[in-house]
């Protein structure tokens, strides 16, 4: 008998033969259902949930009041003014849309790549996507000034015989973000139907039975249904993959199609997409770490999941860093006076502080994930994810504001100053986001229960050890070791 080395059978081992199963401490399906839904089944949510909801809801109410103030008074309550006409609202829009990218990336692209670990985080990453896109959609909606005319964004036949301009990137945005929201919502809901049926079947009160029953549309787990359902899920993943890449590309066209130095670059679409995935994963991490703590999901969202996310953050953060340096290189290499000036001005001009916050948060911070110690430390990864969130907001601030503030003509330069309404509206949007998220983890299946069961070794109908886990069942000693590891 060999003695167990402490580096063996570790959850984050690079050698898959020495890894325990994806789902920890569960061998049967029933206990998985119970364990995931224990937060939803509890008669009362924990005090910390009420506390978080109270804060989020107050912030959301503040957002509502500020939007009301904006509508009654006008866009003058914001700092947007000549020459920086796109201030905070567009920065916030791009920030939130970017965050909304991780959900569909996890649910679609990682699904196509057969990354089974995605099943533990896809549900709430998708939920996060939807809430982030709601926050994102709010900003252009109120930025139009006369919000009662926001319907002009859509091609609706009207008495003025007036149609939108289909050759404008701003209209492409309406279609891209609208489609993205719709498809993400459908993907999320379709994935949730079997789990809603699970909640319906274990509901103890009439209200719950009816509410979950209605949304479960009478799902009964028929394999004939599952057959079409799985096909639809695969097709949606295949459709959402180009979609998720297109959305931030189209958002970047808002800038790239303009002729402003610093905006008019061909690198923007891939650069924006990498940044979006980067910020999205950071936000998933920011939410996953407290959620697994609060909701007792450590058996499902394990160290290995968090480590995988760290690796993705390292990769996309480096991509973003490469894009920053490439922008600079091209600005110099093109020999364009305005382009070179814009970039030097970004780094060393009046907004230099914002530029260096961006670089240190987005490029320097993720480099810590080269070290396994950092990838396995909750404190470090949570702190790093917060830094990335901050850095990605500043990236959008740098792009939007510096280019507009100092364009071709020095006589038309100006400095952008946000007002208190700008700042508080931005914080208020976090309230909106968190309120939705907290309601989601309390009332909806927070993990994809059916999908998680399907990746357990016991789910293999052939049962002759296709899975390495069956050949090396986790012993108590190994489990204890892996536990220590966390």
């Amino acid at each position: 008998m060999t003695t167990l080395q402490s580096n063996q059978f570790c959850n984050t081992n690079e050698d898959p033969r020495n890894r325990p199963q994806l789902i920890r401490n569960h061998t049967d399906f029933g206990s998985v259902t119970d364990d995931i839904l224990k937060g939803n089944d509890a008669a009362r949510p924990p005090k910390s949930w009420w506390f978080a909801l109270a804060i989020s809801f107050s912030m959301m109410s503040m957002l509502g009041v500020l939007i009301g103030y904006l509508i009654v008074t006008g866009v003058g309550v914001w700092g947007n003014n000549n020459p920086v006409m796109w201030g905070y609202p567009i920065v916030n829009f791009v920030f939130w849309v970017g965050i909304g990218h991780a959900g569909t990336l996890i649910s679609a692209i990682l699904f196509l790549f057969r990354q089974k670990w995605r099943t533990a985080i896809n549900r709430f990453a998708e939920a996060m996507t939807i809430f982030a896109v709601i926050c994102a959609g709010t900003f252009p909606g109120i930025h139009v000034g006369r919000v009662w005319l926001a319907y002009w964004l859509f091609p609706i036949p009207n008495q003025m015989d007036m149609w939108p301009q289909f050759r404008s990137p701003l209209l492409w945005d309406v279609f891209a973000v609208g489609t993205y929201f719709t498809v993400s919502l459908l993907f999320w809901y379709l994935g949730m139907i079997p789990d809603l049926a699970t909640m319906r079947d274990r509901a103890t009160t009439k209200v719950k039975q009816i509410a979950y029953g209605v949304f479960a549309v009478g799902w009964r787990g028929s394999m004939r249904h599952w057959h079409r359902y799985e096909r639809a899920y695969l097709l949606l993943a295949a459709l959402a993959t180009p979609l998720v890449l297109s959305v931030h590309s189209v958002v970047s066209f808002d800038f790239a199609v303009a002729q402003l130095p610093g905006w008019h670059t061909t690198i923007f679409p891939p650069y924006f997409v990498a940044g979006a995935i980067f910020s999205g994963f950071a936000m998933v991490m920011t939410l996953a770490i407290p959620a697994r703590e609060l909701w007792g999901l450590k058996n499902f969202i394990t160290m290995r999941h968090l480590e995988n996310m760290c690796k993705i953050i390292l990769f996309t953060g480096s991509l973003v860093g490469f894009a920053y340096s490439m922008e600079f290189f091209i600005a110099w290499y093109s020999g364009e006076l305005y382009e070179s000036f814009t970039f030097i001005n970004r780094a060393f001009g009046p907004y230099g502080w914002a530029y260096w916050i961006m670089v240190s948060c987005n490029v320097v911070t993720p480099q810590i994930f080269w070290f396994k110690k950092a990838r396995n430390s909750i404190v470090i990864m949570f702190t790093a994810s917060l830094f990335v969130n901050v850095g990605m907001w500043f990236e959008r601030f740098v792009i939007v504001v510096t280019s507009l503030a100092n364009d071709f003509l020095p006589s038309s330069w100006g400095i952008f100053e946000p007002t208190w309404v700008d700042v508080m509206t931005f914080f208020g949007s976090f309230g909106l986001f968190m309120t939705f998220f907290l309601l989601f983890i309390r009332y909806l299946p927070v993990l994809a229960i059916a999908e998680l069961k399907a990746v357990m070794p016991a789910a293999d109908p052939h049962g002759h050890g296709h899975s390495y886990n069956e050949m090396t069942p986790e012993t108590d000693a190994q489990a204890a070791l892996a536990e220590e590891d966390e």
Binding site: F166, T182, G218, R224, H227, L235, L239, A454
Partner: protein
């Protein structure tokens, strides 16, 4: 009242606790020639649909058609609203809302690509989701298998194979005997 009117039988359900159990049972039921049977499972058991003899769904074809429809709709929408300039029967002028921006062509195909792409994806995705629900005949809030309290575990941790009474080969005694050869945990009678 339920005692004087004898209940109609919907079918017989065999309960299994493992995935190999339901998989091999489904294979045998399919081989025995039953057509009206189904498996109620908490998650898609890999290969079970093939073991049951379920034919490939036509959903991908529907989704493709949905995508084509979305693409055409986007082209028509953009050309009709922004670029059109024809005289219907040489009399009625039909003119789109033409934006003249630095003399750029009204029918700029490249500029129409993003919206055409998005609408293709949108229509395909809508077809995929609503097509699945339609082909699965959902929403269906009433079903005999939803009525029996034991079968609630089909969404939790148990696997059920249901042979329906409407199957031409169905006779209660025979099916009961056949199901018990599959070594189920229990056999449950379902009322219609």
């Amino acid at each position: 009242m339920s005692q004087d009117t004898p209940k109609k039988l919907y079918g017989l359900a065999a309960e299994f606790t493992t995935t190999p159990g339901i998989y091999h049972a489904a294979e045998k039921v399919n081989e025995a020639g039953y057509k009206w049977f189904d498996c109620l499972v908490p998650f898609p058991v890999h290969g079970l649909d093939r073991a049951m003899g379920v034919k490939m769904t036509i959903l991908p074809i529907l989704v493709f058609c949905g995508g084509v429809a979305g693409f055409l709709a986007a082209c028509v929408l953009q050309i009709f609203t922004n670029s059109l300039e024809v005289d219907l029967w040489a009399l009625v002028p039909v003119v789109g809302y033409q934006f003249d921006v630095s003399g750029k062509p009204l029918l700029g195909a490249a500029a129409f690509v993003p919206v055409a792409f998005e609408m293709t994806v949108l229509f395909s995705a809508l077809t995929a989701v609503f097509g699945t629900l339609f082909l699965n005949k959902l929403p269906m809030f009433y079903h005999p298998t939803l009525k029996h309290p034991a079968l609630a575990r089909a969404t939790d941790d148990r696997f059920y194979l249901v042979i329906e009474a409407c199957d031409p080969k169905f006779s209660k005694a025979e099916v009961e005997a056949f199901l018990s050869t599959l070594e189920p945990e229990s056999i449950i009678e379902l009322d219609a």
